[in-house]
């Protein structure tokens, strides 16, 4: 390890330092608000390091560090920004739950931060072993956080997440073992080179049975992370039982980390043109299953957190459309598929966080997660209801929200790759999903309120709501900045 390596790792190292600081402060600081403030202010340090690295990468090109196990490129940095933003917003949104989470608030914040470290490493790892331990570092804090409420549902959520993430890790490792057995290396770029120099059989998908088995097992392992059908069984129970800020965190950051690692592994290790076509088909199938199952089951839900859980499964399906639209399938090796996926992830992060933050405020007041308890919110708390309405509209994909732009971009990529049928499935699903999202809107604006009392929200939560709500609207009208960023990031793994 050289000093340069340390510089490349500086966002992660500083974030670990911050997590340790928050835990230690918890022992000496009596006021809980201070911890949230420290965690929030401290996030500026890794952000500053990431910005500095972005400058370095812009001027000197992508960097490889720590014996080639870690890449610092625009792709990794794009996700670092995303995870830091998500962590900051989740930290802010937790302030309304101090009375329920306050028993170990320092640990709570530090686990959120350490999980973000895992995600950042996951998006940057270029070697299978580092990638696997980063995955564990992401999942383990989330399991503890899911069990943070001291009730039966929360404990069940934590246990389910822990067990299923362990099983999916085992499946993933098994797949990695096959890939390692075939290629004799764990470095992604070396895997690509070995596959490129070996003779692939045209009659077998992926050119070799061992590779087929390895890739399918790895997809199953990653499928758990991104919550796609048929690896979605844990999602509703965990989302329902976990503290709502953690549910929000799981639904955006953990999912984004899963997609980041899939993008990097598949475009770098299995990026050969023949292989791209094969896994494109695999992801197209998963996309159809995930969109359809997620939306159909969401229709039947009465609990808002469960409904949003199925909605995230459906959205994993839309995102998989971006993976199915492989660059090899498009004329001129276009980058629309991967960059569309990155843009969608960023937009979805804003949208889903806005939705969950509104749910935090409302359920905190009413004490009920049933959709009918949202009755008359349009009159009780017009601004809160507006943010929730905006995010739901964005989840359907109606302009002028970022959700519309993201769907437009990703479906456009699919059409360019010759996947018009997949787009038809996606659009039909979007229409279907409008039913259950609009049901919430109807209850909020048309049903009579149970009381006329406004829903209170702390200043940090209100700030988080305003930031995410404004983001949904802003990037829905002016998406070009975000799209450029996503394109530059996607370029890093395609070149």
């Amino acid at each position: 390890m050289t000093l340069h390596d340390l510089y490349l790792l500086s966002p992660e190292v500083s974030l670990v330092g911050l997590a340790a600081l928050v835990v230690l402060l918890d022992m000496v600081v009596p006021r809980k608000g201070v911890l949230a403030g420290v965690a929030l202010a401290g996030l500026v340090v890794p952000l500053a390091f990431s910005l500095a690295l972005w400058g370095t990468v812009s001027s000197e090109g992508a960097q490889q560090g720590i014996f080639g196990t870690l890449a610092v490129d625009k792709f990794a940095l794009f996700f670092k920004f995303l995870f830091l933003a998500a962590a900051a917003l989740v930290v802010m949104a937790t302030t309304d739950l101090f009375d329920r989470l306050g028993h170990s608030l320092g640990e709570y914040y530090s686990l959120v931060l350490v999980s973000a470290v895992g995600m950042m490493l996951l998006a940057a790892a270029t070697e299978l072993i580092s990638l696997y331990v980063a995955l564990e570092l992401t999942a383990l804090p989330l399991a503890a956080l899911a069990a943070f409420h001291r009730d039966a549902r929360s404990t069940e959520a934590g246990l389910k997440f822990l067990l299923l993430s362990a099983i999916s890790s085992a499946v993933l490792l098994y797949g990695m073992a096959f890939v390692f057995g075939l290629t004799g290396t764990t470095y992604l770029s070396d895997i690509a080179a070995r596959i490129g120099s070996s003779v692939l059989r045209p009659d077998v998908p992926f050119g070799a049975f061992a590779l087929l088995l390895g890739v399918v097992l790895m997809v199953a392992g990653f499928g758990f992370k991104i919550a796609t059908v048929p690896f979605q069984m844990w999602v509703p129970d965990v989302y329902e039982g976990a503290p709502t800020p953690i549910t929000a965190y799981l639904s955006v950051a953990s999912k984004a980390a899963g997609f980041a690692v899939i993008l990097r592994v598949f475009y770098i290790a299995f990026g050969a043109e023949a292989l791209q076509v094969d896994w494109g088909v695999l992801f197209a199938g998963l996309a159809v299953a995930s969109m359809t199952v997620g939306n159909l089951v969401a229709v039947a839900q009465n609990n808002i957190k469960r409904m949003l859980a199925y909605s995230t499964i459906a959205h994993a399906g839309y995102m998989l459309v971006g993976l199915a639209a492989v660059s090899a399938g498009a004329p001129g090796g276009s980058t629309l598929g991967p960059s569309g996926l990155l843009f969608y992830l960023a937009g979805y992060t804003l949208t889903n966080l806005a939705a969950f933050f509104a749910v935090i405020a409302i359920t905190n007041k009413t004490g009920s997660e049933v959709i009918d308890s949202f009755a008359g919110m349009g009159r009780r708390s017009p601004w809160l209801a507006l943010v929730l309405a905006l995010s739901l509209v964005s989840l359907i994909g109606i302009p002028p929200t970022v959700g519309f732009m993201a769907k437009l971009y990703i479906f456009n990529a699919a059409v360019r790759s010759g996947l018009a049928w997949l787009v038809v499935v996606g659009v039909v699903n979007s229409v279907l999903s409008a039913y259950y999202y609009l049901r919430v809107l109807r209850v909020m604006y048309l049903a009579p309120p149970a009381s006329s009392e406004a829903v209170p929200a702390s200043v940090p939560l209100r700030t988080a709501l305003v930031v995410t709500g404004a983001g949904v609207l802003f990037f829905g009208v002016l998406p070009i900045f975000l799209i450029r960023l996503a394109e530059r990031a996607a370029q890093a793994i395609l070149s």
Binding site: T69, L70, H103, L137
Partner: protein, 163 residues
């Protein structure tokens, strides 16, 4: 039949038999002891592959620490809680899944025919060098994972005291 092949067959049978014993045994304590047999046999397999250090670690950590922790856990919980472990209705499903995986693996190896490499012994010194130089990053992340596990376990076990 070379001696190492005979040893391989013996150890593999022992590992498999131990594994079966874990699954079939109706007494949890017996299951834990069967696990010890299986893990020990795997340590033997590592020795056959000339990876002395892995074998040592396998015996120390899995054969020693892990099994002891399991036995301790059994000692500290009420054994009658486990009486129902024998009513598992999922065993046909489990058997089918196990056979399917076996078939898949066998087919893959038959079709794929992996290359045979001559065995090479890896010394502990080289291993240490590799671990702390080339694999420094995953090693450090793993230590962070352990820290997180510690904090997580603390919170969950502290839950009783709070209210």
């Amino acid at each position: 039949m070379t001696p190492s092949l005979i040893a391989l067959a013996f150890l593999a049978a022992l590992a498999l038999g131990g594994g079966l014993g874990v699954v079939i045994s109706r007494n949890v304590v017996y299951a834990a002891l069967f696990l010890l047999v299986s893990l020990g046999a795997v340590a033997g397999l590592y020795l056959l592959l000339l990876t002395e250090f892995l074998a040592l670690v396998q015996v120390l950590i899995y054969g020693g620490a892990v099994v002891i922790v399991i036995v301790f856990a059994l000692m500290l919980t009420r054994l009658q809680d486990f009486a129902k472990t024998r009513d598992h209705h999922q065993w046909p499903l489990g058997l089918a899944a196990a056979l399917a995986v076996l078939g898949l693996l066998a087919a893959t190896f038959v079709v794929f025919q992996p290359a045979v490499h001559p065995l090479q012994s890896t010394g502990i010194q080289e291993l240490g060098n590799e671990l702390f130089v080339r694999w420094a990053l995953p090693f450090e992340i793993a230590s962070l994972v352990l820290l997180v596990a510690l904090i997580g376990a603390l919170i969950i076990s502290r839950a009783d005291r709070g209210e």
